[in-house]
Amino acid sequence: MSPRQLLLSAAALLALSAPAVAEDIAITNATVVIGDGSAPIPNGTVVLRGGKVLAAGAGVVVPAGARTIDAAGKWVTPGLVVAVTDIGLFDVEGVDESNDEGADKGPFSAALDLSPAINPLAQHIAVSRAGGVTRAAVAPLRTGAIFGGQGAVIDLASDGQPITQARAFQLVQLGEDGARAAGGSRAAVHAVLRNAFMEARELARRGGGQGADPRLQDAAPERPGDALLTRFDAAALVPVVTGRQPLYVRAERAADIRMALALKADFLALKLVIVGATEGWMVAKELAASGVPVLATPLNDLPGNFEQLGATQSNVGRMAAAGVKVGLGAFGDQPRYAPQYAGNLVSLTKVPGASGLNWGQAFAAISSVPAAILGMGDKFGSLKPGLAGDVVIWDGDPLENSSGVVRVMIDGVEQSLVNHQTKLRDRYKVPTEGALPKAYEW
């Protein structure tokens, strides 16, 4: 471990608040992927300054004094942006004691704020970082109520300061999961949803639910005596009904997606994002016309349940062709699989009758497009000048199965790629024991 890596891991362990200083870095002789949908640029250069992208592409001049990394033909891309995932909410998903994904035994739903629950030192963060993921939208994907609570946008740096934006969006479930949570039917979902929005709107009308964290407003106004929602839940929904906070809607069935879009007729200010959208291709024209973007589960092609009978891997390609803004997401606890999913969408372009994405579109679907859907396309997600210096160097085409991550930078700071898995690999490359038991090799 280099002194620099030692410093980084020490910083991680102590969770020091001061971030490591970003230096000027120039990555030369690289195949550069901007991430905006354009094709890769051979023989390009990426320059980072002050933690941000200064320039990227062909013919970029290396500033004097910059640390220069010769990529020797390797690929350089923006860090992967994965929305929606649940990493950071558990150490081991199946170990209940370590799992903060859901809170169905508690009194709150919409009011839940995930940001204090995120553990930046969870191995899933470290492993995902080593897979090239630099930003993620962490969402409550398992919830006992229709509202899951407020998700957070995080970076995956090892500085112990993960939050890019707390309370970035609210999540609600329609469909079968929502029906179960609402009391047993989709009709109940829509009643619960509308009642909640009406209570939030009423609270807003009375001057409630204001401020950066609307739950914490002092001298909150009185509410009608027949309110169903807790005060915290109602306050948390005020930014949703007033359009200050996006509403992520989990919906798979075509009819459920239509019903989600129809919400905008009753609640004009809603800023919707559809999550999942297995049957999105069946309502692609309506989605495109509405301008509502989609974070699609990439390769669903099985009728996993009765709300996914139309599942096909061509879903994303068909939606994109219809003009829907579609990013990849909603694949749970392993965001490091994003490149493989994106690569598969490229493979579909060679299958007769199938729809996929071209290479540039596919990479954008796991970088700039989800960043834009998160409302942060001007902050990270591509290598355009001024955006965060989130950069990954790969030993080959990043979407290809055989490729791997060589270096990762977040906000211009080079990150450690050492984790539980890499340490195990190094210990057991040779399985037999030496002079001392394995436990002494570290």
Binding site: P303, L309, T312, V351, G353, N401, S402, H420, Q421
Partner: protein
């Protein structure tokens, strides 16, 4: 380890050598009941699978991975009468009556084989009414047979064929039980009946499971096992009973049949292969000793996320590791999984099989293997493409006991063949055509060669590309 058959032979020898044989023999003459308990029909649900019609076909100009570690550039593969007729280079003579398929720039492999699938016993849609994979009412249920749970209309079979090039697969009971029941091996061909899918003459497997699942499921019911030591104890008590049963059977002293014991005795006879779900290295080592104690062989550990820690032990035992490329961290016993698992095992000389255990993963076994190859390479372990293809073909065939019939492109073997539109280890490649026993059952260019299960008829997406 003494082979089960050898053990049986020694028992017979002891009988012959004992004094007063004539009198004893008369006394020990098996009763009619004992005869019935011993000479029962071992195949009461026989395969009715018949290959579909094919035509003599020559694949020309392809890169051929033969599944046994061989690679031929600009190769030719000849199929006729459901069998592989010849595999060779550009100079191989093609008989006049063969339909030629120009495979230049494309790749040919044997049909992909998934040793660990729950298609049919946990089918899509995965509604409660379809949940038929775990008979989780007792910790050991060797009496149940997966073939009695498999729904032949699972849409998943078609996806595995069209996107994954899967031509044979083993359907296992789930892992809630220590002994979950018999597996069934299928040809990936739709049929009205499960018998119509059964791979002819494939041996049965017995699904076993270690670790978290059995102790959690039965511990939660307030019964044994609730711990890992309970897992091993229940297993050993059951094997003791099975050994006793088998000795009695061999001595002609059984009065009644016992469905559970017939399966376990079949394992001890070496006729039924052990397919053992097990994650942790320490538990696999204990299971190997338990197998020695009772004289059976563990054919494959499944999942085996820590197999890389004991490659030497697994090699010595001749036990395969059927693994994912890079699943990790979803449950406690998967916390030490590493993506170099396959590479380290290969380097140790142990048998590697890439499996899916997943209705989506089965569509991308080729990609999973390629990821494992890349991770191995970065760890300094080079595994050739041709060897990696073996992880998906001949190795699983061997671990399922069907390697004489399929798993590699050898003269006389079943013509289970995939033509890929590019290198199958690339994320950008997909099956172009798939033959099962020489019958063209998927053709990307021909919507009529796209199977649609009964379930999907009249539903949105019927006949769509998947």
């Amino acid at each position: 380890m003494l082979a089960p058959k050898l053990l049986a032979g020694m028992a017979a020898l002891a009988l012959v050598a004992s004094p007063g044989l004539a009198e004893k023999k008369k006394k020990d003459e098996p009763s009619a009941a004992a005869k019935a308990a011993r000479e029962y029909n071992k195949n009461p649900f026989p395969s009715t699978y018949k290959p579909y019609p094919g035509e003599p076909t020559a694949l020309t100009g392809a890169t051929v991975f033969d599944g046994a570690g061989g690679r031929i550039e600009n190769g030719i593969v000849l199929l006729a009468d459901g069998k592989v007729v010849a595999v060779g280079g550009a100079d191989l003579a093609i008989p006049a009556n063969y339909r030629r398929v120009d495979a230049a720039g494309k790749f040919v492999t044997p049909g992909i084989i998934d040793i660990h699938s729950h298609l049919g016993d946990y089918p899509s849609p995965s509604v409660q009414a379809h949940s038929d994979g775990n008979e989780a009412t007792a910790p050991t249920t060797p009496e149940v047979w997966a073939e009695h749970s498999v729904w032949p209309q699972d849409p998943g079979f078609s996806r595995a064929l069209a996107n994954g090039g899967v031509t044979s697969l083993q359907i296992l009971p789930g892992s809630a039980n220590l002994m979950g029941g018999r597996s069934v091996t299928l040809k990936n061909v739709y049929s009205r009946t499960i018998q119509g899918m059964k791979f002819p003459d494939a041996p049965y497997g017995l699904k076993m499971a270690c670790g978290e699942n059995p102790k959690r499921v039965y511990g939660a019911k307030g019964r044994m096992p609730s711990t890992r030591m309970g897992n091993i104890a229940v297993n050993r008590m059951t094997w003791m009973k099975a050994s006793e049963y088998r000795a009695k059977r061999n001595a002609g002293k059984l009065e009644t049949r016992d469905l559970a014991m017939e399966t376990l005795a079949g394992v001890l006879d070496g006729e039924i292969l052990i397919q053992n779900h097990c994650y942790r290295a320490d538990e696999m080592a204990l299971v190997l000793d338990m197998a020695k104690e009772f004289g059976y062989k563990v054919t494959a550990f499944h999942h085996a996320t820590e197999a890389y820690k004991i490659g030497d032990l697994l090699k010595a035992a001749g036990t395969c590791s059927a693994i994912w490329a890079d699943w990790w961290g979803f449950k406690m016993e998967s916390y030490d999984a590493i993506p170099e698992n396959a590479g380290i095992l290969q380097k140790a000389g142990a048998c590697v099989v890439i499996h899916s255990d997943d209705e989506n993963g089965i569509q991308r076994l080729n990609q999973e293997a390629a990821k494992a190859q890349g991770d191995a390479r970065r760890a300094g372990i080079e595994v050739s493409d041709a060897e990696v293809i073996r992880w998906l073909t001949l190795n699983p065939a061997m671990a399922m006991g069907i390697h004489q019939q399929t798993g590699s492109l050898e003269k006389g073997k079943m013509a289970d063949v995939v033509l890929w539109n590019g290198n199958p280890l690339s994320v950008y490649s997909r099956p172009d055509k798939v033959w099962v026993d020489g019958a063209l059952l998927f053709d990307a260019a021909d919507p009529k060669r796209r199977p649609v299960s009964d379930f999907e008829l009249g539903q949105v997406g019927e006949g769509d590309v998947k």
